[in-house]
Symmetry: C3
Subunit: 349 residues, 3 copies
C-alpha cells in the first residue's frame, strides 16, 4: 500500500500546509467515509457541515476557509477540487489495463496498419485496411472493422465495436461496449411493410472526444454523423444518423439524439434528454434531465420539461399547477357568492 | 473515388433529366453540405428554402417542382426520397464487412451446423447444436450460444450475443452489441430478500426484423418473447420477458417494454417511450417520444405525455397550463369585484 | 420432448390434485396460449376471465378457488405463482450454457487465479492477477481485466466486461454486455474546454446481486461505487460514479443514477426513472416509471412525475389539469355574470 506524508501531498497538489506535515496518509476519501489515515476535500458547500465530524487526517480547502476544528490539518489552495484530483492520481499509480505490444491472441488483418507503439489487448480484431495510431490502446475484445481508423493516444475500452470505415481522432476515449457506425434507423413505408433506407455514410469523431460505455453512434445515411472536437458523451448515449454534436457539447447519460438533430457548441443536455429529428439545440443552451426537445432551443437558453420549454416557464407552471386545488375552491366560492348576489338582485327587481 | 455523370444517375434512379447530363459528380450530400461535384435531393418541404443557395451540381426533386435556379440541373421523379437512396447505393459499392467463409480464429462447436455459404468473422463463437443459415453473416466477436438458430441471409453485427436456444428468422439484421435471450427480470419478495423467478422460456424473432445496436430482448419466463415479422427496433430498445411485438411495429431508440406488454401491428412508439407491464398498445397506434404508457392504448390512437393520454388532450392541457398565471389574475380580479359588489349590497341593506 | 403426468407435477409443486392425474402434459404456457397438452396457472386476478376459455389440460390455482369448468383439472396450492415456477423448472432441465473447465480458446493470464471448478467459455479473457471463484461461470466473450475479482457461483453472461480491479461478490449474475468499472463522467470547465477529472476509485458489487444486460456501472472518482447485497438491477441500468445502491433495492430497466446519488434499502425505482447527482431516495420508497428525481425522496414515500413529487399530489394535479378547460369556462361565465351585476348596480346608482 502506498503512503504519503501530508507535506508531500501539499507539494503534489500545490497547497499551503496548515497543520502537521509529518502525518502519514494512505489514500483519499470523502468527508463522510474518511478514516484517520485518509485525506479528504471540501469543494461543494453542500458538504460543509461534514467538516465538523469528519475523521479524516486532513482536508483540502479553499485558501480563506475558516475552520473550527483545531485538530484537523488543512491544505489550503485556490481550487480544492483540482488539488484533490492531483492527490487521487498520486495514489492511483499506473492504471493501464493493456501491456505494450500486440497480444498473441489478437487477430490483425494483413493490410491493417498498427503503429508499433500501439497497445493491442487479448482477443482484439483489426480488419483489413484499418489504421491504429501511435500510443493508441485497444483493450481486450475490441473489434475494429475494415478501413476504420483510430488516432494517436486514443483509448478503446473493452468490447468497443467500430464499423467499417469510421474515423476516430486523437486523444479520444471510447467506453466499453460502445458502438460506432451502426446503421441509421431509416425505413420507408410500402404495401409490403417497411423498406430499409440504405445507410451508406460514415461517422467522424474528432480529437479529444470522450464517449462513455454502451453508447451507440449511428453512421449517416450519406455524408457523416459528426462528433466534434472536445465533446463529452456519457454512458448509453444514442446519436442518430446524420446528427451533429458540436465542439465541447456535453451529453449526460442516456441522452438520445434522433436523426439529423444538432447540438450546438458547449450546449449541455442533462441525463435522459431526448431531441427529436431535424431539431437544433443552440450553442451554450442547457436542457434539464428528462426533458424531451420537440422544437428548436435558442442558443444560451435554459429548458426543461416534456415537451421542453423555457425552464423559468416550466417551473412557474409546475408551481401553479400545485395551486390548482385552491383555484378550484376559489372558483366554487365565487360561484356561490355571485349566486347569492344575483338572488338578492332578483329579490329587488 | 467513384464518379458518375448526371445522365448515368438519372437512369439509375429512374428520373427525368432537366439540365446538363454530362456533368460529373463524386457523391451524394445534403442541400446545405453539397459542393459543386455533389448531388442532393429535396423530399421534405422543411428544406425547400435551401434550394436557393445550395452549391450542389444537381438536385433530385418531384416531377412537378418549379425551380427558380436556372443554373441547377434537376432530376425529376415521383419519389425523390427513394430515388436518392438508389443514388446513395450506387456510390456506396460493396459494404460487406466480412469475407466469405469461416475466419480461422472463429470457434465453431463440433455439433453446430454452419451453412457453407455463411460468412463467419474473426473471434466468433458458435456453440453446440447451433444452426447458421445460408448467406447469414456473423461479424467479428459475435457469440451464438448452444442450440440458438440464425435464419438465411440474416446479419449479426459485431458483438451480438444470442443466448441458448433463441431463434432468429431470415433476412433479419441485429445491431452490434445487441443481446437476445437474457433473463427476464422477475423476483418474488421473501423474508430473506428477493427470490429469483426462473426464466425458462425463449425468444422468437421472426423474418425480416431489424434491431439496432445495444438493444436487449429478454427470454420469456415460459413460452416465448416474440418479435413478429417485419418489426423494426432501433438502438437501445429494451423488450421485457413475454412481451409481444406484432408485425411491422416500429420502436424508436431507447424504447422500453416491460414484461408481458404488447405492441400491436404497425404501431409506432417514439424515442424513449415506456410501456408498463401487462399493458397493450393497439394496432396502428402512435405514441409520441418520451411518453410513458400506464394503461392500454386503443388501436389507431395518438398518445403523448407522462402518463400517456390522447395527444389532443395532452396538447390542449399543455396550452392551457401556460395560461394558468392569467387565470389566477382573472380569479383575483373577480374576487375584488365581487367584494365591491357585496360591500355596496351591504351598504344598501 | 419431456412429458410429465399431472400427478407427477402436483408432487413437484406441492399442490393438491383436483381432476385427472394420469393426463400427460408437455410443458407450461399462459392461459391464453396453452393447448390441450399444456399446464397453466392463475396468480393475477387480471387474468381470471381467461379460465373460462383456456384450452389448457390443467391450471394451478389457489387452494380455495371455485371454478365453473368441470372439464379442467386443477392443482390447488397456497402460492400458484411459485408452484408454477417449480413446474417451469421441471420442464426446463439443464440450462447451463458453458461446459465444465476452461475452453481452449480462452486467454488466461499467467498470474490469474481461476478456481478449478469454475467454467470458462470460448474466447474469454482473464487478465493478470484476476481471481475467478469456485463454480463461477464465464460465458463466451467475457472480458475480465487485471486484478478484477469474481466470487463463488457468480455467473457472467456473454460479453460482460469487468474493468481493472473491480470486485464482484458471490452468487451474482451479470447480464450479457454489462460493463462494470467504466470511467465516471467528470469534467471540469477550462478555457481550453473540458478537463477530465481522474476516476481512480473502483466498483464493489456485494453478494447475491443481479444485474441485467447492457447495464453500466461506473468506477468511483475515489473510493467505491457500491451495489449492496441482494440488490436487483434490470437491463440498461446506468449507475454513475460513487453512487450507492443499498441492500435489496430494485432498479427496473433503463433507470439512470447520476454521480453520488443514493438509493436506500429496499427502495424500488420503476422503469426509466432518473436520479440526479448527490440526491437520495430513502429506504423503501417507490418511484413510478418515467419519473425524474430532482431532490431527496423520504423513506417509504411514493413518488411520480417530472420532476418527481408525492404520487398522490401528482395524480391529483393530473386529474385537475384535465379539468382546466372547464375551469376556464367557469371563469368566463363568472366574468359575464359579474359584469351584468355591475351594470345593473351602475343603473341604480
Amino acid at each position: 500500500m502506498t503512503t504519503k506524508t501530508l507535506a508531500e501531498l501539499a507539494v503534489i497538489c500545490g497547497a499551503t500546509l496548515d497543520g502537521d506535515g509529518e502525518r502519514v496518509v494512505s489514500g483519499p476519501a470523502s468527508l463522510s467515509d474518511a478514516g484517520p489515515t485518509e485525506i479528504s476535500f471540501l469543494a461543494n458547500s453542500l458538504y460543509e457541515k461534514l467538516l465538523a465530524t469528519t475523521a479524516a487526517a486532513a482536508v483540502i480547502v479553499s485558501s480563506d476557509y475558516e475552520s473550527e476544528r483545531e485538530d484537523l490539518t488543512l491544505l489550503r489552495c485556490e481550487n480544492p477540487n483540482s488539488a484533490f484530483t492531483a492527490v487521487v492520481q498520486a495514489f492511483a499509480g499506473d492504471q493501464s489495463a493493456v501491456d505494450p505490444g500486440v497480444h498473441p491472441s489478437a487477430v490483425i488483418a494483413q493490410s491493417a496498419e498498427v503503429h508499433e507503439e500501439a497497445r493491442i489487448g487479448a482477443l482484439v480484431s483489426v480488419g483489413e485496411g484499418a489504421r491504429i495510431g501511435r500510443n493508441a490502446v485497444l483493450h481486450p475484445g475490441v473489434i475494429v472493422e475494415k478501413e476504420a481508423s483510430v488516432g494517436e493516444e486514443t483509448v478503446l475500452q473493452a468490447g468497443v465495436q467500430l464499423f467499417r470505415g469510421v474515423t476516430i481522432g486523437a486523444r479520444c476515449t471510447l467506453g466499453a461496449g460502445t458502438v460506432v457506425g451502426s446503421d441509421g434507423f431509416g425505413f420507408d413505408p410500402s404495401d409490403a411493410g417497411w423498406i430499409k433506407v440504405a445507410q451508406c455514410g460514415t461517422v467522424n469523431i474528432e480529437d479529444d472526444v470522450d464517449v462513455g460505455a454502451n453508447s451507440t453512434i449511428d453512421r449517416a445515411r450519406f455524408g457523416s454523423t459528426r462528433i466534434c472536437r472536445g465533446a463529452k458523451l456519457d454512458n448509453m448515449v444514442h446519436v442518430g444518423h446524420n446528427a451533429l454534436v458540436e465542439e465541447d457539447a456535453m451529453l449526460i447519460a442516456q441522452v438520445g439524439l434522433a436523426g439529423s438533430s444538432r447540438v450546438g457548441r458547449g450546449a449541455i443536455l442533462g441525463g435522459k434528454v431526448g431531441v427529436v429529428g431535424h431539431t437544433t439545440v443552440g450553442a451554450g443552451a442547457r436542457v434539464a434531465g428528462g426533458a424531451v426537445v420537440w422544437s428548436d432551443v435558442e442558443p444560451g437558453a435554459d429548458y426543461a420539461g416534456l415537451p421542453a420549454r423555457p425552464k423559468v416557464e416550466f417551473l412557474q407552471t409546475m408551481a401553479l399547477s400545485r395551486r390548482l386545488p385552491g383555484l378550484l375552491d376559489r372558483i366554487k366560492a365565487l360561484e356561490a357568492r355571485i349566486q347569492e348576489l344575483e338572488a338578492s338582485q332578483g329579490d329587488k327587481t
